[in-house]
Symmetry: C2
């Protein structure tokens, strides 16, 4: 039974709008003296993908609506940031003191519709989630294959809070080359009992594992390679992770 390795991708520059994320990661990996291996899983923080795709918004150019101003007052947030959140939100799921839990156009439920002010590029800049993170993952995967000949899976991640438990954890918001859910129903357990309900969200577990190296350094590490993990290579999008509202007891 082999070890599993998580390798931080170091030496990446600040990613500006228009940068090809796949290309710049391939270069960084090469500069590290590393090479991709077939079956590697490349986990990338959405922040660099969003910046490359032009999803940064300068708050100086944002005029908050009357509704945004009201919500800003109720939540204690910057009204311009609330305006950006509302533009990237199809539903407010919960509102509380300083907290705005939204459903994004993709269907993710997260704080501030994923609109983030940290590592955004400046004090008055926020970044929104990529418009189609599964497509972003696919593009990066294709580029890695084109430049290296190696087939990797790609996961785009974001840190989400969650009900019941404090702290954020990294989860998958986009993926390519991997089935994010491992459905083990029908398999037998250790004692021969058939598993009735076991479906593991491996994409989220991989994203969380990657953040252990991404979050740790002083320098920003926006990507990591997970090596040695066997997975179902069915090419399914991260949106299959989203629980339908009518199957969700908490919406």
């Amino acid at each position: 039974m082999p070890k599993l390795e998580i390798i931080p991708v170091t030496g990446l520059p600040i990613i500006e709008k228009g940068v090809d994320v796949g290309e710049i990661i391939v270069k960084a990996v090469k500069d590290m003296g590393e090479s991709f291996i077939d079956g590697d899983i490349l986990v990338i923080a959405h922040s660099i993908v969003s910046r490359a795709e032009g999803m940064s918004i300068s708050l100086k150019e944002v005029v908050p609506s009357a509704f945004a101003q009201k919500i800003a007052e109720a939540t204690g947030k910057d009204p311009r940031q609330v305006e950006v959140i509302l533009r990237n939100c199809r539903k407010i799921v919960r509102m509380g003191d300083g907290v705005l839990i939204c459903e994004t156009p993709h269907g993710f439920v997260c704080a501030n519709a994923g609109v983030d002010a940290s590592n955004s590029g400046g004090t008055d800049i926020v970044i929104a989630l990529p418009k189609d993170p599964d497509k972003s993952a696919e593009n990066i995967r294709r580029k890695v294959k084109e430049l290296t000949g190696v087939d990797v899976a790609v996961i785009i991640s974001d840190t989400f809070g969650r009900p019941f438990r404090k702290g954020t954890i990294n989860v998958a918001i986009g993926c390519s080359g991997i089935n994010p859910l491992w459905d083990r129903r029908g398999e037998k357990d250790l004692f021969g009992r058939t598993l009735l309900s076991k479906v593991t969200c491996i994409a989220d577990e991989l994203a969380s594992a990657a953040e252990l190296v991404m979050g740790q350094a002083d320098e920003a590490i926006p990507a990591a390679i997970i090596r040695g993990y066997k997975y179902d290579r069915s090419n399914l999008p991260a949106r299959v992770i989203i629980r339908d509202k009518n199957e969700d007891l908490f919406r």
Copy 2:
């Protein structure tokens, strides 16, 4: 920037009641030709801890109450299993078709109050969570230190479902020798902006990372060692992860 390694602990026998989990893991690690290193994080599936602590319950000896029978009917579950769930539950948070989301006596919110039928030891056996998983983690940590002289952190894990997203992920329900939450508020981001809200639940991310090797083999791998991760060694229990009900927008 070093790699992070996740090492499956193989060769563990079926754990029976009364087994010293710390001792048997130290033996398994030795038999693997491995040794613990200062700062390793040992993640252990609660199932073996629960079995060792006698938390297995034979459903043949369980007489369901009238209320358990009603809930069993409403949820489509075995009434004896519901009875065990109710005994390990201080509050039913949500009920749905086949689903019973409970608050456990520890304060965790999870399906079936953590009472599990898979890998429990037989068809008519279920296992409940350890009574005090933080204490279990502390005992194991002390035993590893006693037998090897090495200071490791210990995390007891369980797979939890969650709102909004399909699939279960591994989370920490007990820990020792580690601060499960990494509070980064006050640090500066990549662009000099002060982080206002960044608290990462590294214990849950470590538990998820460990499950990548624990879940993968045909043989059961109930434990894994994470090596190369730097963490705050403040000895805080996993119960600090629990979000207070009055700060939770989903309860």
